[in-house]
C-alpha cells in the first residue's frame, strides 16, 4: 500500500457522475461544419497553411506555429476549407478569435500516416517531434504544449511521473470513461512519456469513486511497475498541486512548477493522444467530451471531433431547449458559462453541462461576510479567503498580494461553502486582474521614465559639447584678435603710414560681421542655412512654438510630480524645465520676428503656406 498524504481543506460536492456513465462512449459523428480555432493551446496562435476553398484530408496539418510556442492544428475529417475568419471560441469572456472552418465532405478520407512500431528505436527528440506534430497539448485544462512539458530544464530531473486520473470535478466523466474503455492506450501513452523522461516512479492517481476505471487500469498494468494509487474522493484532489501533495507529500513551491520538485503530472486524455500519435501516427483530432446535465435526455460521453459546435453536441444528447438555463463548459466548480452554443469543442473541452434552473440555481443575494472561517477550512491552498475578500473588496491589493492572493487556484471551494453566498472567486479574479493591470501600467511608466531620462542625458551632453565648442571658438577668436592687434602695433612701430582710426574701425567691422554670422548660424541650426532675406515659414515656427510649449508643460508636470514625491531627479527636471523655458522663449521671439517680416511682405508670406 502506497503511503498517502492529505491536503488541507477541500469539499465534498455531490458527484452527479452516474448521469453520464451509464452508457459507453459513443461516436458523435461528423457535423455539417467544423470550427477550428487557431489557438487551442498556451502560446502563440498557429498560422493557416491552407487557403479557402482548398480540399484537405483527415489528419492533414492545416495550421502550424512558425515561431514561438504552440502546436499545429489538423483537419478532423476530409473536406473543404470554407473560411478563415473570427468566430466565437470557448473563452470565459465570450470573445471571438481566428478560426478555420471546414466543410466536411462525408468521405472521412485519411491522409498518409506514419505509425511507429518501436518507438524505442527512435531518438527522444524524434518522439517529441512526433508528439508536437500531432498537435498535442494538455487536455486537462490549460492546454500547455505537451512536447515542451516533456522537456523540463536539464537540472529538473523528473523522478515521479503522475497520470492524473482523479477527475475530482463533479459531473465530468471523460477521463473515467477513457480509463475504463481505453486502459491499454492510457498505459501505452504513459510508457512513451516514461521512456522520454526516465522517471523512477510512475503513478496513476485515481479517486475511489471510480471502481471500474481502477479495475481496468489494474488489469492493464499487471506485471508492470506502474502504481495505481486510489485516493479518497475530495474536491480538488485532481488539482495538480493537491494531487502531487496526496501522492508524494511534497508541495510545489509557490510560483514554481512541479518539475522543481522532480514531479510531472499528465492528463489521461493526453496519454491516449500520445499513444495514438506514435503507434497510429494519428494527430489529435478528436477527444472524449462529457455531455451532461438535467436538460439533456440522453447524456453521456462522446468521442467528438475537435471543432464540433456545442450546438451539434447538445442536439446529439437530446437537449430540451426550454429547460436549459445555464450552459457550463467544464465542471460546476471551475467551469465557465457560455453565452452561445455555437462555440466549438476544442482540445481542452472535457465537459458541457446543460443545467436546468433547479439543478444549478441562481445563488441567493450576497450577505455581509461574518468571517465565520468556513472558507479557510475549505481552502486547499491554506489561504485566508475571508481576508483576501476583505482586501479585494476594499481595493487593498497590496495587502491581498501579501496574503498570497496569487497562490489561489480558483477552485471555488470557498464560494461553495460560504454561508453569506459571496462570489469569493470572482473577487479574487478581479483583484488579480487589477494587480496585473497595475503592474503592466507600472512597467510602462518605468520604461517611459527611462526613455525620458536617457533623452535628458543626451540633450545635456550635447549642450555641454556645444558649450565647449563655443568656448574654443571664443578662445581662438581672442587669440586671433590679439595677434592682429600685435601686428597692427608692430606695423605702427615700424612707422608705416597707417591711420589709427581707420584700423580701429576695420577691426570693429570685422567683429560685427563675425557676430552677425554667428547669430545667423545659431538661429537656424537645423535648416540648411536659408538666406536671411527669405520669408520665414510662420506655420513651421508656430508648430515649433506649440511643440516647445507642450514639452515645457509636460516637463513642468513631471517636475511637480517629482517634487510632490520628493523623487531624486528633481534637480535634473528643474534644469530641463529651465532649458525648455528658454526654448519656448526663443521660438516665440523667432515667431514674432517672422510675423513682423511677414507683415512687411504680406503677399509673399501667404504664398508660403
Amino acid at each position: 500500500m502506497t503511503q498517502l498524504w492529505d491536503f488541507s481543506g477541500g469539499v465534498h460536492p455531490p458527484g452527479h457522475k452516474e448521469v453520464s456513465t451509464t452508457r459507453p462512449v459513443r461516436n458523435a459523428g461528423i457535423p455539417e461544419l467544423l470550427i477550428l480555432p487557431l489557438q487551442q493551446h498556451i502560446g502563440v496562435p498557429a498560422e493557416p497553411l491552407v487557403e479557402v476553398g482548398e480540399r484537405v484530408l483527415k489528419g492533414q496539418k492545416i495550421a502550424d506555429i512558425k515561431a514561438g510556442m504552440g502546436v499545429p492544428v489538423h483537419a478532423p475529417t476530409s473536406g473543404v476549407i470554407e473560411s478563415i475568419a473570427d468566430y466565437p471560441v470557448p473563452h470565459p469572456s465570450g470573445m471571438a478569435d481566428r478560426c478555420i472552418t471546414l466543410k466536411p465532405d462525408g468521405q472521412d478520407q485519411w491522409c498518409a500516416l506514419n505509425p511507429v512500431k518501436d518507438y524505442r528505436s527512435l531518438e527522444r527528440d524524434q518522439i517529441l517531434r512526433i508528439i508536437r506534430d500531432a498537435g498535442i497539448s494538455g487536455m486537462g485544462g490549460a492546454g500547455f504544449p505537451t512536447n515542451i512539458k516533456l522537456q523540463p530544464p536539464r537540472d529538473r530531473k523528473v523522478s515521479t511521473l503522475i497520470l492524473n486520473g482523479a477527475e475530482c470535478e463533479p459531473y465530468i466523466t471523460a477521463d473515467d470513461m477513457t480509463m475504463r474503455e481505453k486502459a491499454d492506450d492510457v498505459i501505452a501513452g504513459l510508457k512513451i512519456m516514461a521512456w522520454i523522461l526516465r522517471p523512477e516512479r510512475c503513478v496513476i492517481g485515481i479517486e475511489d469513486n471510480k471502481p471500474e476505471a481502477i479495475a481496468a487500469l489494474r488489469r492493464a498494468t499487471e506485471g508492470t511497475q506502474t502504481e495505481i494509487v486510489v485516493i479518497p474522493t475530495k474536491y480538488p484532489s485532481g488539482g495538480e498541486k493537491q494531487l502531487i501533495q496526496i501522492l508524494t507529500g511534497m508541495e510545489v513551491p509557490s510560483g514554481g512548477i512541479p518539475a522543481d520538485i522532480g514531479v510531472m503530472c499528465q492528463n489521461i486524455g493526453t496519454a491516449v493522444a500520445v499513444a495514438k500519435s506514435v503507434f497510429e501516427g494519428k494527430p489529435l483530432i478528436s477527444r472524449v467530451v462529457t455531455m451532461t446535465g438535467e436538460a439533456l435526455q440522453d447524456p453521456g460521453n462522446f468521442e467528438t471531433l475537435i471543432g464540433t459546435p456545442i450546438e451539434y453536441m447538445l442536439e446529439h444528447a437530446g437537449v430540451d431547449q426550454n429547460a436549459v438555463s445555464r450552459l457550463v463548459l467544464g465542471g460546476p466548480m471551475m467551469g465557465y458559462t457560455l453565452t452561445t452554443e455555437s462555440v466549438p469543442v476544442i482540445k481542452t473541452t472535457n465537459c458541457v453541462i446543460a443545467a436546468t434552473a433547479a439543478e444549478l440555481p441562481a445563488p441567493p443575494p450576497e450577505q455581509p461576510c461574518i468571517r465565520c472561517g468556513q472558507c479557510a477550512e475549505a481552502c486547499p491552498m491554506e489561504l485566508l479567503p475571508q481576508q483576501l475578500f476583505w482586501h479585494a473588496k476594499a481595493a487593498e491589493f497590496e495587502k491581498a498580494e501579501h496574503l498570497n492572493l496569487f497562490d489561489c487556484i480558483e477552485c471555488g471551494a470557498c464560494s461553495y461553502v460560504c454561508p453569506s453566498s459571496i462570489p469569493l472567486v470572482q473577487y479574487y479574479r478581479f483583484a488579480k486582474g487589477e494587480i496585473r493591470a497595475q503592474q503592466a501600467e507600472q512597467l510602462k511608466a518605468d520604461r517611459a521614465r527611462e526613455r525620458f531620462e536617457a533623452r535628458q542625458a543626451r540633450l545635456e551632453r550635447e549642450q555641454q559639447e556645444k558649450e565647449l565648442r563655443r568656448k574654443e571658438r571664443a578662445k581662438a577668436a581672442a587669440e586671433a584678435q590679439a595677434k592682429k592687434k600685435a601686428d597692427a602695433e608692430k606695423a605702427a612701430v615700424k612707422g608705416e603710414a597707417v591711420d589709427e582710426r581707420a584700423a580701429k574701425s576695420a577691426l570693429v567691422e570685422q567683429a560685427l560681421a563675425r557676430k552677425k554670422a554667428k547669430a545667423e548660424a545659431s538661429q537656424s541650426p537645423a535648416t540648411s542655412a536659408p538666406p536671411a532675406e527669405e520669408t520665414p515659414d510662420i506655420g513651421a515656427l508656430e508648430k515649433q512654438l506649440s511643440q516647445a510649449q507642450a514639452k515645457l508643460d509636460t516637463m513642468q508636470g513631471m517636475l511637480d510630480d517629482a517634487k510632490a514625491q520628493q523623487a531624486d531627479n528633481v534637480e535634473k527636471l528643474e534644469r530641463a524645465v529651465a532649458k525648455n523655458h528658454d526654448r519656448v522663449k526663443r521660438a516665440e521671439a523667432l515667431l514674432a520676428e517672422a510675423r513682423d517680416k511677414a507683415a512687411a511682405r504680406p503677399s509673399e508670406s501667404r504664398s508660403t503656406h
Binding site: 455531490p14 466548480m333 461574518i370 477550512e377 489561504l383 461553502v417
Partner: protein, 349 residues
Amino acid sequence: MAFVQQSSPHARNARPTSRVMLWVLIAALPGLFAQTLFFGWGNLINVVFCVALAILSEAALLRLRKKPVLFFIRDNTAAVTGLLLGLSLPQFAPWWVSAVAVISAIVVAKQLYGGLGSNPFNPAMVGYALVLVSFPVAMTTNWAEPAMLWNSAPGFSETLATIASGQQTAFDGWTMATPLDEYKHKITIHTAAEVLNHPTFGNNVARGWEWVNAAFLAGGLLLIGLRIISWHIPAGFLGGLIVMSLAFGSNADLYTPLSLHILAGGTMLGAFFIATDPVSAATSHQGKLIYGAGIGILIYLIRTWGNYPDAVAFSVLLMNFAVPFIDHYTPPRTYGHHKARRGVPGSQG
C-alpha cells in the same frame, strides 16, 4: 436563447448565515433551561425582552440606514446578540438596564459601525460593559439566589413585575452574591473552608452555576460538533484561564480555586458563545488560539486582581482591540511557501 451568465463555482452547498445563527440560538437553550431551573424566571424574561428589543432596534436602524430590513433581520444575528445579553444580565436587572445594554449593542456597537460583519467589537459585550460601569448597583445586587435556597420562590408574574417595575434593586430575599463575588471578598479575611460554608457554594462547586456552566459547555460542544464554531477559541480561552489559575492561584486560602473559575460566572457562556463571535475574533487557527488565551488570561487577571467579580465582557473587548494585531502575525503558511508571511505588506517575514 439567453443563458445564465455566472462566475464559477456554479454549485454551492452552504449553510446560510441565518441557519448558523439559529443553531447558536438552539445550542444556548440547555443553558437557558438550567438558568431558569436554578435561578428562576429572570433569565428567560430577560432573553425574551432583549431578543425582541434587539430585533426592533436592528429594524429601526436598518430603516434609518435605508437597508432592506427583512433581508437583514432574517439573518438572526440581532436575535443572537439579544440572547447573549439576556443570558448574561442579572436575573432581576431592571428593564431599563437591559434596554440600555441592548440598544447600545445593536445601535452603537453594531449598526453605527456599518452593521453585520463590520463591527470591530463584540456588540453584546459592548452593551454589557456599558451597563456594568454605568449601573454598578443594579448590575451587582440583582443576581438571583439559587432556587433551592428560596423560602418562597418568586413566580413568573412576580419576577416579571420586579423587572418591569424598574427598581434599582430587587427584594433582598431573592438575591444573593454570586459565588465568584463571595469568594473573592471573603477569602481576604477567611480560610477557604470558612468561605465555602456560604450557601451560594452548595455541596459541589457553585450551587446552580455549576449546572448552568455544564449546560453551556454541552451546547458549545454541539456547536463544535456541527462545525459552527472551531475549537480554537474555547480551547485557548479555557486553557489560558486554567494555566493562570494553576500558576498563580493554586492556594485556595488566598485565591479563588480553579473549579470556581471554570464552573462559576460566565466562563462557559463566554468561552463557547461570546468569545466565538467570528466578526470580532481573530482569523486564523493560531490567531484564534492566541485570541482565546488572551481572553482567558485577562479574565483571570481581572477576577483576581481587578475590581470586578467577573470579567468576560472586559476581556473580550480588550482582545477585540488586539485582533488586527494578532491577525497580522498569525497567518497560516500557504501551500508551497516555506513559512507564513507575517507582518504587514512591505515588512520582512
